[in-house]
Every structure is written in C-alpha cells, then in structure tokens.
Amino acid sequence: MDISLQNVEYRYQVNTPFERLAIKDVSIDIPSGTFLAIIGHTGSGKSTVLQHLNALLKPTEGQVVIGERMITPVKKQKNLKEIRQRVGIVFQFPEHQLFEETVEKDICFGPMNFGVSVEEAQKRAKAAIGQVGLPEEILSKSPFDLSGGQMRRVAIAGVLAMEPDVIVLDEPTAGLDPRGRKEIMDMFYSLHGTRGLSTVLVTHSMEDASRYADQIVIMHNGEVYKKGTPKEIFSSPEGLLKLGLDVPEVVRFQLKMEKSLSIRLSKTCLTMDELTDEIAAVMKRGTAT
C-alpha cells in the first residue's frame, strides 16, 4: 500500500496559548515495499509524522494519502479501521500497552478488533510469538510476569498478528541490549523481505538506518532537511554533522582516513566489506583518485 504525505503541516492544540507547530511542509512518499528510515533529534517532529501514517492525527494543512483514502484537514473521517489494520504501528516502549491476563489474549486483541475469529487470532498469535523469537509456552503466561525485553517482543507480536501491509516502528530497539537490538532489527528486516511489507523506521541509530533502509529522511525542526538513499545522504556528511547528527561508524572511519592521508576514495562506503574492498583496491593501485 502506498502512503504519501503532501505538504503536511501539524499544529498541536490549535487556538490555545499552548499552540505549537510540530511539522510543516512535510512531503514524503512511501511506495509499497520501501524500507524508509526517518532520522532526527528529539523534538524534530519524527513521531508526529509517524502518527499521520495511520490517521491517528489529521493534518492541519496539506494532505495524507493512504492507499485509496485521502486524509485532509477538513473532512471528517469515518471508518478508519481498515487503515489501522493495514498500517500497524509499534510505538516507542510498546510494552506499556500490554493489558490482558495472558500473552495470547493480548496478541489476539488487535486481530479480533478487526473482526478476525478467535481461532484464526490464536493461530496468528502462535505464528507471531515464533516470529519475535519467543517460545510458545509463553502464550499462557501473564505479560506482567515477563522481563522487559520479552514484554517488548510480545507487544511487537501483537502488532504483527494484525498482519499489516505497512509496519511503522518508533525506535523499536530503544533500551534493549545490543544483542536484542540486532535480533529485533534482523527480524523486521527479514519480514520486510519475505512478506513484501513497507517498513517505516524512526530511529536515532545511523547504523540501523544505513544498514536496513533504502530511503532515508532527515527531519530537523519539524521540516524535511534532506531525503535520499543512504549513499546520497551519507556521501555529504558535513550537513549531518552540522546538525549534530551522527554518521555511521564506517563513514566516519572513511572520512577520518581520507583526511589524515589526504586522499579521496571513489565512493562513500556504507559497510565494512565495501570499505575494505575499496581500501584494498587503492593499495593495489598505489594511489587514490
């Protein structure tokens, strides 16, 4: 399902002394099958953008097109359930949304809200719990008896069981240990590939963005600062560094090396393998371009 934000502006608490412009003139296209990363500092408007993707927020200016539906500031929206089912959002710290007596019931909550039968929901719960790397026995436990990391996975399973076409992730790995991070990100990446999902990842981690995304959007002060492929974004890292944003370790290494040896490699490398090949090639030739 294609999603497209067109010149979207959003103000919080319009007509009060607390009125605040969160995002302005944001245009982002997310064609079906894209893996998009949204990067920016806290308060740059990332989370506001994300809530427009399944019509939790209605833009105060501009429009959002989700599949065939058009969300505009004026039109009163009815029956948004279909959108909610097709666009699953994993919020930051999703473990806070758990509430049922058992893990199974909690995972079934989403699908059953969208009219799936109990049996089908339970089947999906079984599948989802496996996908997030938890044993099936956990289904009968109370979600509040689990560890933080397990709760996070259960919450994610709850969204996966809705079987959305687009999955939106708001810093899904915040507060997890490095191994948990990698496992969860790899899981999303493989789902993205096998199910043909569109994935939108809001993150602080440049490493994740460069490793998984095919499109990156940089947000700054509520506006789109830059968008492009990881190569385009990271090949001119000066702007990013000026905003106080990081660049991936590999890019940082390459920059430093180029500076101290006063050479310039032919391209910006995003993975360690690419960089080593590039360096090997330079050493073979004896000179850099």
């Binding site: 919020f91 509430f99 909550f109 809200n113 809705m162």
Partner: protein, 265 residues
C-alpha cells in the same frame, strides 16, 4: 482530546495576578467563595460579575482559551439553570406550555444560582491558571503552618498535594499515548454502544494503573536514596514574599464585600 482541558493547567504570562503571592491568592479565593453568597439582586450580581471579569483581564489569560476549556463545565451550569427553572414552584406563573410551567422565582433563582456557580468556577480557574502547582502547595503549606502545633502533618499533606498535582500532566500524556497505541490496534474509544465503550476503557485503564504503581515505586526509591525525611529543618528554595499588591488586592476584595453588603436586599 486532552488538549483543551484547562483544569490544573498553568498558563505562563507576565501579569499582576501571576506575580501575586500564592498565599494572598488562596486567601482571596477563599474569601471570594464566601462573599459570593452576599449577592442577592441584579446589582450585586452585576458587581460580582464585573469584578470576576476584571480579574480575568488582569490575569492576561486569553478569554477564548478559558471559554473553550470551561465548555464541559458550562454544561453543568446550564443543567443547574434548567433544574431550577422546572423545579422551583414559587411566585407568579410566567409561562405555561403543556406540562411545563415556569415560575418567576424559578427563573430568578435559576439565573442567580447558575451565575454564582459560574463565577466560582471562573475565579478558581484563574487561581490554577496563573499559579504553578508548586506555588499553590507552598502557599497552602505556609497558610496551614499554625496547625503544626496540634501535630497536624502539614508538610506531608503539602507533599502529597504537590506530588499528585505534579503527575496530572504526566498521567494525561500517558493516557494519550496508550489511547493512541490501542487505537492503532483497532480499539475504538469514541463510537459504538455504551456497553462496548465501557469495555473499551479496560485496555486503557490497566496499562495506566500498572505504570502509575511503577512510577510511585520509582519515586519512593528516588526520594529514599536522596535521604528525604520530611519537612523538619528543611529550607525552601522559593521564598514567599507578601507585597503591596497582595494587600491591595485583598483591600479591593474587602471593599467589594462591603459594597455588596450595603447593596444587598
């Protein structure tokens, strides 16, 4: 959804009312609540209303903001009006239509009592809109201090108050967040039959309870680990200072009370 709530909300601004000592504001509101009952005719109610709107103007809080914030409460005011209109059966009959009869006294009382109610709400809103929760508790603690002599736990009470006030916005944010998360999972809080809607609250309430308990425990641990042990010998970072404007404000209210007393029938 919670955006428009003004209950317990502080609107920062530079105004006389904002700069007043919280103690004088508390005393002023307390006295106002008493003298509201002095008014019993058009003139006195007019004076009270004028005074209230004068105070709103002084506070520099946009009136439109107060209006949108108080809309739900206005409903209650209108309800009071109608109760009196239909249930008071004194004085001349003004109007008769089918089974509805409206008496003169009913109209009079309805208007006066709902107006009184409305003014009280306005004045107390000015207090909370112009005073930070911390100031209110500081003021209250200082006003209640004499009760310490009879072993009344003033400091603990003030602490409880400031903690609960402090966490209102946090709880609101949390409610908003969890509501959004559950809405994204297909929960529906805004439509459907009453029974369904009540059921829909469970996925909201349970996470809120869980996180509140967790937060309370974290707060207790944090206080304990910083060696908190109550108010004894504790000095204050914010010092309260009673100024000329405080005395002047109270004097103005006293004058109003006197005039009301003379003009009431």
């Amino acid at each position: 959804m919670m955006d428009k709530m003004i209950f317990g909300r502080y609107v920062p601004a530079e105004s006389v009312i904002h700069r007043m000592d919280p103690r004088s504001k508390l005393v002023l509101i307390f006295l106002f609540v008493c003298i509201v009952f002095l008014a019993n005719n058009m003139l006195t109610y007019g004076l009270l209303t004028a005074y209230t709107f004068f105070m709103i103007a002084l506070s520099k809080v946009p009136i439109r903001f107060i209006y949108t914030g108080l809309k739900p409460v206005l409903l209650l005011v209108v309800f009071t009006l109608f109760l009196h209109l239909f249930l008071t059966k004194e004085g001349e009959v003004l109007f008769r239509f089918g089974w509805i009869t409206i008496y003169e006294e009913g109209l009079r009382q309805g208007i006066f009592i709902s107006l009184r109610f409305f003014l009280l709400i306005l004045m107390t809103s000015i207090l909370t809109l112009t005073t930070t929760p911390i100031e209110i508790t500081d003021g209250l603690e200082s006003l209640l201090n004499p009760l310490n002599k009879v072993k009344f736990p003033v400091h603990e009470l003030a602490l409880m108050m400031s903690i609960s006030l402090r966490f209102i916005p946090t709880l609101m944010q949390e409610t908003d967040k969890i509501m959004k998360a559950q809405t994204a999972r297909g929960a529906d809080f805004t439509s459907g039959p009453i029974k369904e809607r009540i059921k829909a609250i469970i996925p909201l309430l349970i996470p809120l309870f869980v996180s509140s308990f967790k937060r309370a425990e974290e707060l207790a641990v944090a206080m304990e680990s910083r060696g908190y042990r109550g108010g004894e010998g504790r000095t204050k970072y914010r010092q309260l200072s009673w100024g000329l404007k405080d005395t002047a404000m109270l004097a103005m209210l006293a004058a109003l009370a006197l005039v009301l007393f003379l003009l009431r029938t």
